[in-house]
Point group: C2
Chain length 202, copies 2
Amino acid sequence: MAKDSTTEQLIADTAEKVFLEKGIAGARMQEIADAAGINKALLHYYFRSKDKLFEYVFDRVFQDFVMRLRTVFEEELPIEGQIRVFISRYIQIFDRKPGMPLFIQTELYRNPDLIKRFTFLQSVFPADYIRKEIAKKVEVGEWRPIRVSDFLTNLIGLCVYPYLAQPLLQHAFSMNDSDYQGFLENRAETIYTFFLQGLRTQ
Amino acid sequence: MAKDSTTEQLIADTAEKVFLEKGIAGARMQEIADAAGINKALLHYYFRSKDKLFEYVFDRVFQDFVMRLRTVFEEELPIEGQIRVFISRYIQIFDRKPGMPLFIQTELYRNPDLIKRFTFLQSVFPADYIRKEIAKKVEVGEWRPIRVSDFLTNLIGLCVYPYLAQPLLQHAFSMNDSDYQGFLENRAETIYTFFLQGLRTQ
DNA sequence: TTATAATTTAACTAAATGGTTAAACCTAAC
DNA sequence: GTTAGGTTTAACCATTTAGTTAAATTATAA
């Protein structure tokens, strides 16, 4: 019977696009079916309900995100190098799916229970490891003391904010789409320099 | 007949809460009416349609935001002092309405036309002024060169991100609500130090 | 008092929407 | 060729939802 998962894949991919664009409340099952080139009956044949489909998509999106980042702080590099990789990989993820950060934050804000689905989050936010590295750097007088939560919030905020606030920033800086694309392309290097300098003592 | 604007106010305040929490797509007129302690008929009596009500609320929220920030970079202070004021005022705004940043970004992302309603945005993002100040500081060797767009994106991102990503961060750092509140309270100082240091040459 | 505006009540409409059903059709494996 | 599962069609159901209506009621200002 050769489980033909192509259709399931197609549905999930299409649903992801629609959900990313409109959120669960704004998305319509009919629209997903149309966009996938199938009919509503088949949609419910594969995914019983809108909620089930949403959860499936949400998990997939988040897993994709986590999987691309979880190994960064395990690599054999000095912390500065890990930070550089972290930044560029973060940006790389969102370049492929610019709507992803806003989607995750919004759905999470409106339904905090979704947080329960977040496994492996500690590997993307390796607080203990970072704490130790900060301590080392502080001891040799290279960095100022900083809380882990501030360290990671700053780092991630610098990476993600341009994607979360794209329409606002693009308008504020009078950029067209390709201007903004150019702006984003230079961010990785800017962030790296700025972030590391921000940590230093002098 | 004394136009009793109390009810209009009440409706707008209540609608704001509901819209901030659920977005336009997730909000229900009935829910707004109930929360305001009135009936749906009266809701439509004051605001003809959901869209009209939403636009009214959206404008109010954004205007409130702009009005609290527009004067910061006109104050008689050195740029460092202006930055300090900017940060603390930014944070102060969101402390009162934590859902506001996510609301604005999400609705703007899903309906980019709303950007047309953004007047005075240039006074919150005074690109020309900042450009000149950067140039001065670079000339005396105090700051590294940085694009205005990066300068403002970094500054605002550092302020706003903890509000945009509250559920995620709170979970990642295993904080309860009061932990997170404490985390936010120290942010202003942290950001100020970190941001200014990030700009420096050495 | 009287007229006018605010508010409630309650029923109603029309459209959108998630989800179901059953029969028919297609296709590939056996 | 038969069978089983994927797919379509098309109608249908129940519920939700924005918005309306009209009549009754309450407050308010002139």
